[in-house]
Homo-oligomer: 279 residues x 2
């Protein structure tokens, strides 16, 4: 089995950004992402660290707007509105879920489509559905596509199985695979005979959020296995795919950690650059 | 084979509307759809006649706004804006495609989400993707779902194959089938082994726009065959499914004409009523 790691993809994307960032710099523009964080949840902090590292590496910027866990609706909305009105900010990421007392939709709706680099709002969700090249796409499914592109995997006519139907990964990923001319099957908890369906796939994208659920009996010979799962088990990060089994049966597979997740922050950087170019 | 015709669905839906229309009438509200038509294309006229008939039958209203084929952008936009500002109009349908000289997106963007009963704009497209119960859904795929509901077909765990990936039918239909817990495979012109994929399905939804393409070799035993194709061949309406073959092999099938297409106008009526209720 050949391992498809995320870091080479990150490197190639960063290289691809160089010319674009140079052009922006010539106009005095530094692509800047505002991260709006309520409280200090460990996974938010960890993602924020990753973002800072990725943006720093290419000379783009992350600005953190940190609010107390008990922030009120009005104060939070003011922060988001100010970011949206600030010409020096090109993208806005609001960490979710927000506390239960907050009307999340009202907050995210304040972000204008161009700055909605995390695809929280209807404009970008609609264009992700249409796949017409407009708007921003959600970063995790886009990371899968960047990875497949980097490793030169042609999806045309391939039988792709997506396990999971969330709006964060499964459904947008299905639309992207379809746009790349794969035949796409979307599976979920109510799917019958999932192992058989997976076994016959050319490529399995696991995004169910169930640790190690894609075991050897789900695998055919010579498949591509893309693991989008990020689960913490006994303090360790594990994916949705049984990697031991993958090493025996797959042709190519992405590890967790070090696979798709690694590329996600680069996709947020990509969207922020796009936004800076079009602002 | 049992034929699943559209008229009984139309009848049941009309019955279901009675109470809702009565409540609206008590407030002096008659659900009213504005049809904006540029020129006199025969298929637009035919659809408009169908709409008038369906709306009339329950005491709802269709208002036609007819413009010459060479109408200018500004004049067309004014008509749409006036409809959108008119409290007596609850839904707006703009016949498309518009002439090439017209910026179609600029025109349809003038329709506010609540009046966008034909799901032309990003708000409703996004909610159709999310399937979160908000907004209006496109009428043809919704007609398929109403038909399946009427004939009491439980999609949970079923293997549904959608042939066609358009934004008018294929993709939104896939999202609706998924919401009903079917396992959904989306196929298209680049799909390999389509006949085999179809053969193994529990239900095939044909929306490719290719007359009679689903022949006997695509059919398994005891399937449900839903024909969303509307093609004119030698002046006659034919679907995407070879109906002779369906009669031999399927358990249930929808005819063309007289199947899904018959229900579409009732779904536009449904959206117009919803809009009047929420206006």
């Amino acid at each position: 089995m050949e391992e498809w790691r995320g870091m080479p993809v990150v490197g190639a994307m960063a290289e691809d950004f160089t010319g674009r960032l140079k052009k922006l710099a010539d106009k005095g523009i530094v692509p800047t992402l505002a991260v709006v964080r309520v409280g200090d949840r460990e996974d938010d902090l960890s993602y924020e660290r990753g973002l800072n590292k990725r943006f720093d590496a290419v000379g783009a910027k992350v600005v953190s707007k940190v609010l107390p866990a008990d922030v009120g609706q009005e104060e939070l909305e003011k922060v988001v509105k100010d970011c949206d009105n600030d010409d020096g900010i090109h993208g806005i990421l609001v960490f979710r879920p927000l506390p239960g007392s907050i009307d999340e939709k009202a907050v995210t709706a304040l972000v204008s489509p161009l700055k909605d680099v995390d695809c929280m709002n209807t404009y970008n969700i609609a264009h992700t559905f249409m796949q017409d090249g407009m708007g921003h796409e959600p970063c995790t499914p886009r990371a899968v596509m960047e990875l497949l592109k980097h490793y030169d995997y042609d999806l045309t006519g391939k039988n792709a199985v997506v396990v999971g139907r969330s709006m964060v990964v499964g459904k947008p990923l299905a639309m992207m695979l379809l746009k790349s001319n794969a035949t796409v099957t979307i599976c979920h908890t109510k799917t019958e005979g999932l192992a058989d369906i997976c076994k016959k796939a050319d490529i399995i994208c696991a995004c169910a959020g169930v640790p190690g659920m894609i075991t050897e009996e789900y695998m055919g010979e010579g498949q591509v296995l893309i693991d989008v799962g990020i689960n913490v088990v006994d303090g360790k990060l594990v994916g949705d795919i049984d990697y031991e089994a993958a090493m025996k049966k797959a042709a190519y597979a992405t590890p967790v950690p070090g696979g798709v997740g690694t590329v996600t922050t680069s996709c947020l950087l990509l969207n922020t650059i796009k936004s800076a170019e079009n602002g």
